[in-house]
Symmetry: C2
Subunit: 342 residues, 2 copies
DNA sequence: TTTATTTACGCAAACGTTGCCGGTATCGTG
DNA sequence: CACGATACCGGCAACGTTTGCGTAAATAAA
């Protein structure tokens, strides 16, 4: 593009001064007389001068931009998180480069490679469901690229993390079923690799145990792509429905799995909650409009994004190496509607 | 961050060569002997050398990044468009900086100011509903910043645009109502400033006219913030319900207005389609799960984003000034479900 | 008046990369 | 043996900005 912006040189030439004088005047250095300062500032304003951020980046070795990796932008949860990240980032003069891994390790690696070669100052990431080799992220972390994990975190890597209390969320949801006299409570989870899957499943099992219900492994199904592949959810649902002793309640441990399962059950004319009670993770406001209105475990997504961004900016802007890392754990919200109680 | 990347200088020093030789070797210049090339390339690979994109940007006067402005990321339509944009951009080595105007002109101006000062190579934008002063965008366009409009376009500015056939979409939806014997068909539209609002309303009026139905202006309501403010939709709905002659069908001309209205009608226990038939713009897959299943006008959002990105890259990478601009007009999809027919 | 101090500005280097211009071997040709 | 051609490589400037250092003029102190 021919879009030529005015530079500090242009100002210097026009006013018969040196570039250093102009630079200093614009930054209000005490070394420049008030008269010259005014002249320079007025002229700069007149031609609408903007410092070239690229030149700044080159000099200061920072780009004022942060990378964000999520599995899918179109997922309500993630777009809300991004909102939160943006709100903090822009307030602090950073811009946000958003990418999606589509739950694929290959893509995730590519993206990380790309992002870091594009020189981002820091990274906010929810790792893909396929990821079980964290060496690449570890390398980046060891090269001291500031990283904040959210949602799907990696235990091994010591840095700030923002999650929700997945255990409690699912514990409560499962308990809610138990209290409503459901006997065979099944679960469909996302990728088994993920920290959130483990935590959520732990909450499910603990709730059963606390009420003297034995865990039946045949009632637990996994979707390795977190529901991004339609068939994997169908397979899981079909498997559960094919059991001799069918489940009477279903707790769904990932956003996409929840809506996909709901959709499948409707297609099969399975009444909720009569034939099958349902509750699941989901952050869309639309679930209240479903028929039946869907009970959900909802996450404070905006808040998560905002906190992750704040922590990352701390990391980036701290002078000395940070050694104390925070694990922010936010409470999920359980919203009981029609689909989960008789 | 202390994250120090290897530079071409490091390679030069380590191998006792000059930076220019290294640079040329890495770019496979014929002026460098095969032996030296190999040595340099091997060493570069060993230390995982990556050219510094910031330095490149400064030199080449391009940043390989494009700015995107939408009103709200969490809106399904826009997140799908962004998906489309990303798919093309990343394939071509560009990264995408996404921002949201929240339907506010003030924020839009701020963002544009910010984006252009961050030196983007081009801009893809769906203007905010409040915007009726386009001078800022015009200035950018005249400074020959490549711009592609989508969804909400500005007639005055001569550049590539990607829209859907809003007129046809609403014409068909309205005709669908008429054919189903609905008599008083109302419409709730977004901001009156917007091109899409005008086109959609024109489709509505034409359909009525073609069936000898007089247009009743009291049946047309506007939401200046496109439904982002909850109250404005409530006001519009209440006004329609307060009419002596209530409408029996409702066509909703913006994504958020559709879901908001649907939600309001449910709360008021107004049966759809018996008391009020409803169809509206919306791109969420979830509308099929609503009760009643919602009839929608759906847009090929991914495709729109992909086309917009392609056109923008053409603009950016074309050697000589482009004077022929394209207006891509994609067909919307009308999905009839329960909410719009008896 | 001379010297010391302050004020106000310019010069040049640096960030990482490319490209122009130039230079030095080595080789081939007559 | 001399000369041009070729192959291969280095020096320097430039992109826009900041910053340490230098320095002239102006002012203050002796």
């Amino acid at each position: 593009m021919k879009f030529e912006a005015a530079t500090i040189k242009d100002i210097a030439k026009a006013l018969g001064l040196s570039t250093s004088t102009v630079s200093r005047a614009l930054r209000d250095s005490y070394e420049i007389s008030e008269a010259t300062k005014k002249k320079i500032k007025d002229y700069a304003a007149a031609i609408n001068y903007r410092p070239n951020p690229v030149a700044l980046s080159l000099k200061e070795k920072r780009t004022l931009s942060i990378g964000v990796v999520v599995s899918e932008i179109a997922n309500t949860f993630f777009s809300q998180v991004i909102n939160g990240i943006e709100s903090i980032a822009y307030k602090n003069g950073y811009n946000v480069i958003i990418t999606q891994s589509q739950e694929s390790v290959a893509r995730e690696q590519m993206i990380l490679d790309y992002l870091t070669s594009r020189s981002i100052d820091g990274l906010i990431i929810s790792v893909s469901g396929e990821t079980d080799d964290f060496s690449y992220l570890k390398q980046l972390h060891e090269k001291s690229l500031p990283i904040v994990f959210f949602d799907r975190v990696i235990e091994d890597i010591d840095t700030h993390k923002v999650i929700i209390d997945n255990f409690q969320g699912v514990y409560k949801a499962t308990t809610h079923f138990i209290e409503n006299k459901y006997k065979r409570i099944a679960a469909i989870a996302g990728s088994a690799h993920l920290s959130i899957t483990k935590d959520r499943l732990a909450g499910y099992k603990k709730a059963l145990a606390d009420h003297q219900i034995a865990v039946d492994e045949s009632l637990i199904r996994f979707c390795d792509h977190g529901g991004l592949m339609v068939e994997e959810v169908a397979t899981a649902v079909d498997a559960l429905l094919a059991l001799k002793q069918k489940p009477d309640a279903l707790v769904l441990l990932a956003d996409k799995i929840t809506t996909e399962t709901f959709s499948l059950l409707k297609k099969k004319n399975i009444r909720m909650p009569e034939d099958m009670a349902v509750i699941g993770f989901n952050n869309s406001k639309y679930t209240s409009l479903f028929s039946p209105a869907l009970s959900v475990i909802s996450q404070p997504a905006f808040e998560m994004g905002a906190q992750a961004a704040s922590l990352l900016l701390n990391l980036i802007e701290s002078k000395r190496a940070v050694t104390e890392f925070r694990l922010e754990c936010l409470p999920p919200e359980i919203i009981i509607r029609e689909s989960s109680q008789k």
